[in-house]
């Protein structure tokens, strides 16, 4: 019974969502609309679970002063700081919540993302090697796209090919790579993924795939 009820709920909900795509009848649309509202409410409970999980993960480490417990403490302090300032003073401009968002979270996350450029440059220098034909094709394509997508690349390449009467060749080559080989590969992947998703959805709907229930029986 513990397994049958979720399977029945999943089947009925799935059929309602599926039907609204294939029939103009107002009932499936009405039901789907109702269920979407429920789903948003259920979603908030899932957020609550996430918060509980955060505390369960970090708090014991802080209490036991496990190795690296300072990081766990900072996570919890950050969470509490944002929640308390948001609840007490609100989220309008000029409040402590927005101050913390702009002056703590903003520079921290921007710095993390900014550092990527340095690691990419270092990795490109060390790992991007012409070891094989495929690696060479990848490297040449990357160089063409990287230079063709910035004005300086087109500018200098134009200086080279201008005597031959060509203009904007590198940019056009970069666009060609993005619009043809890239799209062809991506579309093939997408079609495969689409069929896979449809098959999995059908298996879940019919109760064949049950791993989401927490087991494989």
């Amino acid at each position: 019974m513990k397994r049958q009820i979720p399977l029945v709920v999943c089947f009925i909900a799935g059929i309602i969502f599926l039907l609204q795509y294939f029939t103009p009848h107002p009932w499936p649309t009405y039901l789907a609309e109702r269920m979407l509202k429920w789903t948003i409410v259920i979603g908030f409970f899932a957020l609550g679970l996430g918060i509980i999980s955060l505390w369960i993960t970090h708090l014991p480490k802080v209490m036991k002063q496990a190795p690296g417990w300072g990081y766990n403490a900072v996570s919890l302090a950050g969470f509490l700081g944002m929640v308390v300032t948001g609840l007490v003073w609100g989220k309008n401009p000029g409040t402590p919540f927005i101050w913390m968002y702009n002056n703590l979270m903003n520079p921290i996350t921007a710095t993390m993302f900014g550092l990527l450029a340095f690691f990419i440059a270092s990795a490109a220098y060390r790992a991007f090697r012409v070891r094989s034909l495929l690696a060479t094709i990848l490297l040449v394509s990357a160089v063409v796209v990287m230079l063709g997508r910035v004005p300086i690349g087109d500018y200098f390449f134009d200086m080279l090919v201008a005597p031959l009467g060509y203009h904007g060749v590198l940019g056009a080559a970069a666009n060609w790579l993005l619009n043809y080989p890239n799209v062809a590969a991506k579309r093939a992947l997408n079609v495969g993924i689409g069929f896979g998703q449809a098959a999995i959805a059908l298996k879940i709907l019919l109760g064949i795939e049950r791993s989401y229930l927490g087991g494989d029986k």
Partner: protein
């Protein structure tokens, strides 16, 4: 210095060269012409075709980590929409971006003398993008009975006559998250609205296929896309155009690193094989 030593150069040397490449164009700006790609042109043309009083939905899903790329394109497109006299209904389905989006929207609206509630509205955030997008397709009021500030959505003049995606002329998604897929799969393919997307440069290559299939009106990729948009708006000294110079130099440096790294690799005994994996 031997080739082997060059191949294994200290990463701090690479970092210093990169920092120099970032700082120099700030001090000595380059003025390079920016070529406009058809994907950006079509987004511009669609916004240019908006009439006074038209409404668009703008989904702004980015946070401070991707601000450098996303903010310039957001500003440019918002300015363009407001200058056309169109109205904006905005949402943010990305938790950490909610406050950032509110500030960006307000900044450009104030700059263009637009009034909250009449010319634009910010509905805010709800979790689970796929579900929210499907619910928006029924009625914007279903997931957002109140706006970001707690005002009932129905009481906002800008929402008059706006029910769902069929009431807006365009859905413009400025998106640095996997939420782009949700807008395509659960939004555009289900409700058939015109969708244009602005995204980070690294994401852009994944979405050209949707431009070709007609599911996307066009796409704006990263800072380059934002700079192209500025070119179309005749803003010769716009922020994205200026910063694009820095990105130009950094791209050249990274390409230079790749070339030097490979020369050092081959000269220090590295082998090229016809077969093998990439």
């Amino acid at each position: 210095m031997s080739w082997k030593a060059l191949a294994a150069v200290d990463r701090r040397v690479i970092f210093v060269i990169l920092i120099a490449g970032i700082l120099l164009p700030m001090v000595f700006p380059l003025k390079m012409p920016i070529a406009v790609t058809p994907e950006v042109q079509s987004v511009y043309d669609r916004i240019e075709s908006l009439q006074k009083g038209d409404t668009i939905m703008m989904t702004m899903e980015y946070d401070p980590s991707t601000l450098a790329e996303m903010q310039p394109m957001t500003y440019n497109m918002l300015r363009h929409v407001f200058r056309r006299g169109a109205k904006v209904v905005a949402v943010c389905l990305f938790t950490t971006g909610v406050s950032q989006v509110e500030q960006d929207l307000k900044k450009i609206a104030d700059e263009n003398g637009k009034k909250y509630g009449e010319d634009y509205a910010y509905l805010g955030y709800k979790p689970y993008p796929a579900i929210v997008i499907t619910a928006l397709g029924q009625d914007f009021r279903n997931p957002f009975p109140k706006d970001y500030y707690g005002t009932p959505t129905d009481s906002l003049p800008v929402m008059k006559g706006i029910k769902n995606f069929s009431s807006v002329k365009l859905v413009l998604s400025v998106n640095a998250t996997s939420g782009v897929d949700f807008w395509l799969q659960y939004g555009q393919s289900r409700f058939r609205f015109p969708l244009a997307i602005g995204m980070t440069a690294v994401m852009a290559s994944d979405y050209y296929t949707y431009v070709q299939s007609g599911q996307l009106v066009g796409l704006i990729g990263g800072l380059k896309g934002a700079a192209e948009y500025e070119t179309l708006m005749h803003e010769k000294d716009g922020y994205a155009t200026r910063v694009m110079n820095i990105q130009s130099v950094v791209h050249c440096i990274v390409v230079g690193f790749i070339l030097v790294g490979n020369i050092a690799f081959l000269m220090s005994g590295g082998k090229f094989r016809m077969g093998g994996r990439a």
